[in-house]
């Protein structure tokens, strides 16, 4: 069971889990997309993730999440350096749908600067009527318009 209050969010429907770092060491962040974003995309069939060592510039497009019917962009939610990518999700992109907050994480990064991020409550407010209360575990979230969308959905935007 995910503790959502421990996560930070962006308006691009990404979540960030900040790891409590040892004193003196850089702080790391695990990054994924929310169940809402995954639901909007529909069945994810391919993820294109930045390589380890790649520099992230806050707000820049660093990857893609492709479903059968649309393509979402992965925006860097912070400035930093990629230290790990989830190769399991590259092999089994459906993890983004089945467990977006867990096994479906995308990249881990060391960050040098952290922008202002949304709290869970703020993110819920952003979603409004589509709030994640439908199914907070996100295991079978069924997005509002994931069927037959021929539009380029930015990751959930």
């Amino acid at each position: 069971m995910t503790d959502y209050s421990a996560l930070k969010f962006t308006s691009e429907h990404e979540w960030i889990r900040l790891e409590p770092a040892a004193p003196g060491s850089p702080t790391t962040a695990t990054i994924g997309i929310t169940s809402y974003a995954a639901g909007q995309l529909g069945d994810v069939v391919f993820v294109d993730l930045p390589e380890v060592g790649a520099e992230l510039a806050d707000g820049a497009v660093v990857g893609e999440i492709e479903s059968t019917k649309s393509v979402g962009e992965l925006f860097a939610p912070l400035t930093g350096i990629v230290i790990e990518k989830n190769s399991a999700v590259e092999d089994a992109p459906e993890l983004v749908n089945s467990d977006p907050f867990g096994e479906g994480w995308l990249i881990k990064a060391e960050f040098t600067a952290l922008p202002e991020l949304l709290s869970f409550d703020e993110y819920q407010a952003l979603l409004g009527d589509d709030a994640l209360s439908v199914d907070l575990d996100g295991t079978d979230f069924d997005g509002a318009d994931s069927d037959g969308s021929t539009e380029t959905d930015r990751a959930g935007a």
Partner: protein
């Protein structure tokens, strides 16, 4: 006295139209259309000034076409350069090329009712992938030269090199070089031409890609392995244009290290047709699949786990990824790819090798005769093309040959090249030798030895799958083609009400001339004197199209709508540049536009800026003004579809055009929806500077299951100098609507000067049969049908957008989102359930997700239109039974659709509705039922487990 053709073409007769008008509350069709089309754009009547002649009967039109055909002179073409005479197996000609079950089908976006052509296309992909020695082939490209361009663009995407250079082999086809020049210029690529056959690999310059022709345009066969390796060392991709027939004898590009292979499948049984249509191809090595442009067929499973075919990786394509797409290509060359694939099915690997050896044997024989006659060959290693030196007399010799009935390629004043093919005979070689004044002692004879470098002998197997080794008898082939055709739903079964696609009648009389030898048998670079009938037909068609669009001149060269868009945008670019306005690069595109618009703009070197639409679906004028102000000096163009992709005649179109012109921009009117205004309004009159038309929509060229298409570009005279030219054009003048001629001086966009010429007689015949009045009546009937559907269905499904007086144009968008909210039934469920009712679904989720866009066209009769409306209403009632709890949300006739015969016959029936409801929801189906061959196809499975070749037979057990 025969019935006027318009009455055959238009499905609703006077009585039916009267009944429909009564439902709508209008007195006449004209009154209806004039109430729908804004008064500000009503066309002026041309009256007696019309350039379109009075309608002819079907019999008269055939006679006129015979007269035009007689003015073409079919010589024996030995020009080569990517076009060869070929023998279309009669069983394929009759059962595919001339069979409406194949040529009237639509693009297989509804895979459950397209399994036949999807299998045929996967045969094509398997054939191309195995012959080229690469992993994955698409299906298909528009022609060889555009495929090379796509290869160049793919190399730039995939290469890590930062170099702007693309190296081009000096021995590439001349028309390919011309296209590369046009296209590279627009996107900032530097072309460097080198003689790669003699270049030391170490001297290869820094580049993102290297292109070579294999065998070369001169016929020369050499081993490019070292050049390819050197390209890889430099971080470049190797793109190889290869001849599929030659590849049965020589080492494949894939085995030589190529990353991308491209080419044409024309010589696999598809007539030259004065340039097309033929299927180009592209295959890539493993790892580049996602970089492929165009359509890719893959294997997936259906709801019960059976193998099923579908289009894969659609998220690469322009309709989803828009300006970030891998290409703007949309319509491909499905019918021709099917034919080429079936040629390989019928001949099999052994048969293809036999044909190739025979061709190579004749080439050797020709070389022997010419050498014995004292002439010198340029290359000793060749497959089918012999290049010979004739110092100072090449042109005279070619003229001699022409008089004897042979067409040779004049390379320069001192050199000729001569290509042989599947149809070559000994007598022909002797005559050619005589024309060249090479007098051999003996007769021509077929030589068994090889003229190919032994190091390039092909050793790898190909086409081992049973499908290429089974259908050798004509009976077997006929039945295979029939089985596949029976799997599919085409216009010969019923209505295909696809919004934005205009699936109207493709009349047999219109189709007749396509396969006549005088139209089918000509090489695209045949001399002017031999193609008089074609040129006259082309001039007439161009003239008629200027009249109906209100433009000054037309180019028929673009061989698909996407290429027409590109040609139009390149003309705009050329115009701005000619005035020194090189900074005008912004292309405004409304958010409702077809994705192809944005993809084309990028390929024309423009930057896309999206203009918002308002809640009524129209261009938001305030946002347009804001975007124009923001980009004023950088504004190149606005691309706008009319009527809009929302199926509405935008009231403000005149103001929209004016605002763009005032800011120095040009207006591109996308003509995809021309069927809604033809005869009532003209793009050129209300503000357009340039448009493309889709002859495969408005002017009756059949969709062919996803191509061929023809996308002429029509423009005002100020853009004429920048419309497509061609190095082999038989003439550069084109008729101007005001009389006289204009010259099209832009770069080539298709491999052939008049694109897919052999299908132009279809559109010519349509206009000739209908006349101006008939065309106008067709528009009226199309608008009437769409408004009738909208009015009758409005009470069941909201009609999302409408214009003046609450009317739609030639199509209407049914909003299924409220149905989903109320019942959980999705647009997918409705689309697939329509299959059980015997219909092809309307366009799904374009331009708005969760909707269906219905375009009945003028060709459907009232019975069929009512049948569709009744089906939609019945499905709505079924959805309500789901909502009311009568049927569970996860087990009802909608979510389980489509139902196959097997699904109702096999095992226990455990569903809460009966079998009869499943497959015969209306009683009329009992006597006439289309059975889909598969259940609903799992889209995600196919993309996650990409497999794009013939699956092994055990997969079907």
């Amino acid at each position: 006295m025969s019935v006027p053709f318009a009455e055959r073409h238009i499905g609703t007769d006077h009585a039916a139209q009267a009944a429909m008008l009564e439902v709508l509350g209008y007195d006449s069709v004209t009154a209806l259309v004039e109430a729908a089309v804004p008064a500000s754009i009503h066309a002026h009547s041309l009256g007696d000034g019309s350039l379109i002649p009075q309608p002819a009967t079907e019999r008269e039109v055939i006679a006129e076409l015979r007269t035009l055909a007689a003015r073409n002179s079919v010589k024996r073409s030995m020009i080569g350069l990517g076009y060869y005479d070929t023998i279309t197996p009669a069983v394929i000609k009759r059962n595919v090329f001339e069979n409406p079950s194949w040529y009237t089908a639509y693009t297989p976006y509804q895979p459950e009712i397209s399994q036949g052509r999807l299998e045929a296309l996967i045969n094509f992909q398997t054939m191309v992938a195995e012959l080229t020695g690469l992993t994955t082939s698409n299906a298909s490209m528009l022609d060889e030269s555009t495929a090379v361009v796509e290869g160049m663009l793919l190399a730039r995407r995939a290469s890590k090199s930062t170099s702007p250079v693309f190296v081009v082999d000096a021995d590439a086809l001349p028309q390919t070089k011309a296209l590369l020049a046009t296209r590279a210029r627009a996107v900032g690529i530097d072309l460097v031409e080198l003689d790669l056959a003699t270049l030391a690999p170490a001297d290869l310059p820094a580049a993102f890609g290297v292109f070579l022709q294999y065998p070369g345009a001169s016929g020369h066969v050499w081993n490019p392995g070292e050049i390819i390796a050197a390209a890889h060392d430099a971080g470049a991709l190797a793109v190889v244009a290869a001849d599929l027939l030659a590849l049965t004898l020589i080492t494949s590009p894939g085995e030589l290290g190529a990353d991308v292979a491209v080419g044409t499948s024309q010589r696999f049984g598809v007539p030259m047709g004065f340039g097309g249509p033929h299927a180009g191809y592209m295959a890539v090595r493993k790892g580049l699949e996602r970089q492929l442009p165009g359509r890719l067929v893959g294997v997936s499973v259906d709801a019960v786990g059976n193998r099923a075919y579908r289009l894969s990786l659609q998220a690469r394509e322009q309709h989803i990824r828009r300006e970030k797409a891998t290409s703007n290509i949309c319509t491909a060359q499905v019918l021709l790819a099917v034919m080429a694939g079936m040629y390989a099915v019928y001949h099999g690997p052994d048969g293809l090798v036999r044909i190739a050896r025979r061709v190579n044997g004749w080439a050797q024989d020709l070389a022997a005769i010419l050498t014995a006659g004292g002439l010198t060959l340029v290359h000793q290693d060749f497959f089918d093309t012999v290049t010979v030196r004739l110092p100072g007399r090449a042109r005279a010799a070619a003229e001699q040959a022409h008089e004897r009935g042979y067409l040779l390629h004049v390379v320069d004043d001192d050199t000729l090249s001569i290509s042989v093919d599947e149809t070559t005979t000994a007598a022909e070689l002797m005559q050619v030798a005589e024309a060249l004044d090479a007098r051999p002692d003996g007769d021509a004879r077929y030589s068994p030895q090889s003229s190919l470098p032994s190091e390039l002998n092909r050793t790898s197997e190909f086409l081992t799958h049973p499908v290429f080794n089974t259908h050798r008898s004509e009976t077997s082939m006929m039945r295979y083609l029939k089985r596949l055709a029976d799997s599919d739903y085409a216009l010969d079964r019923g209505m295909i009400p696809l919004g934005s696609c205009t699936m109207k009648l493709n009349a047999v009389t219109e189709m007749e001339a396509v396969s006549w030898p005088e139209f089918a048998g000509l090489h695209p670079f045949a001399p002017h004197a031999d193609v008089q009938g074609y040129l006259e037909l082309i001039d007439q068609l161009e003239t008629w199209l200027t009249e109906v669009t209100g433009y000054d001149t037309v180019s028929l060269q673009p061989n698909a709508g996407s290429q027409g868009e590109l040609a139009g945008l390149l003309a705009i670019r050329g115009y701005h540049h000619s005035r020194g306005d090189v900074g005008r690069t912004v292309c405004l595109i409304p958010s409702s536009a077809h994705g192809t618009n944005a993809a084309s703009a990028v390929l024309a070197g423009m930057r896309v800026v999206v203009v918002a639409c308002d809640e009524l679906g129209n261009v938001d004028l305030d946002d347009l003004r804001a975007k124009i102000a923001e980009h004023s000096s950088a504004l190149a163009a606005l691309m706008v579809t009319y009527p809009s992709t929302h199926g509405v005649y935008e009231h403000d179109i005149v103001d929209i055009c004016r605002l763009v012109h005032e800011a120095g921009g040009q207006v591109y009117v996308d003509g995809a929806n021309l069927n809604a205004v033809l005869g009532f309004a003209r793009f050129g009159e209300f503000g357009g500077d340039v448009s493309h038309l889709n002859l495969h929509k408005t002017f009756c060229i059949p969709h062919g299951g996803g191509g061929p298409g023809v996308g002429p570009v029509a423009a005002k005279s100020h853009l004429a100098p920048f419309l497509p030219g061609h190095p082999f054009a038989q003439k550069i003048e084109h008729p101007a609507s005001s009389g006289g001629t204009v010259v099209h001086g832009g770069g080539a966009v298709s491999a052939a000067p008049y694109g897919s010429s052999s299908i132009l007689p279809i559109s010519w015949a349509y206009v000739r049969l209908m006349g101006s009045e008939g065309l106008k009546e067709a528009t009226g009937a199309a608008v009437l049908a769409a408004n009738y559907v909208a009015t009758r269905l409005r009470g069941h499904f909201p009609v999302l957008y409408s214009g003046e007086n609450g009317l739609v144009a030639h199509e209407c968008i049914l909003d299924l989102r409220p149905l989903r909210e109320a019942t959980g039934v999705t647009v997918d469920d409705v689309a697939k359930r329509l299959i059980d009712y015997g219909f092809h679904a309307p366009t799904m989720s374009f331009p708005v997700a969760g909707t269906l866009m219905v375009e009945p066209t003028e060709s459907e009769d009232l019975v069929e239109i009512d049948r569709f409306i009744d089906a939609m209403i019945a499905i709505k009632i079924e959805a309500e039974l789901v909502a009311s709890g009568e049927w569970p949300a996860d087990d009802n006739p909608l979510v389980n659709s489509p139902h196959t015969a097997q699904s109702i016959a096999q095992g226990e029936w455990s569903h809460p509705y009966d079998r009869e409801r499943a497959v015969f929801p209306v009683t009329s189906l009992i006597a006439h039922k289309y059975w889909p061959p598969v259940r609903r196809i799992d889209q995600a499975y196919g993309d996650r487990n990409l497999f794009c070749a013939c699956p092994p037979p055990e997969a079907f057990e």
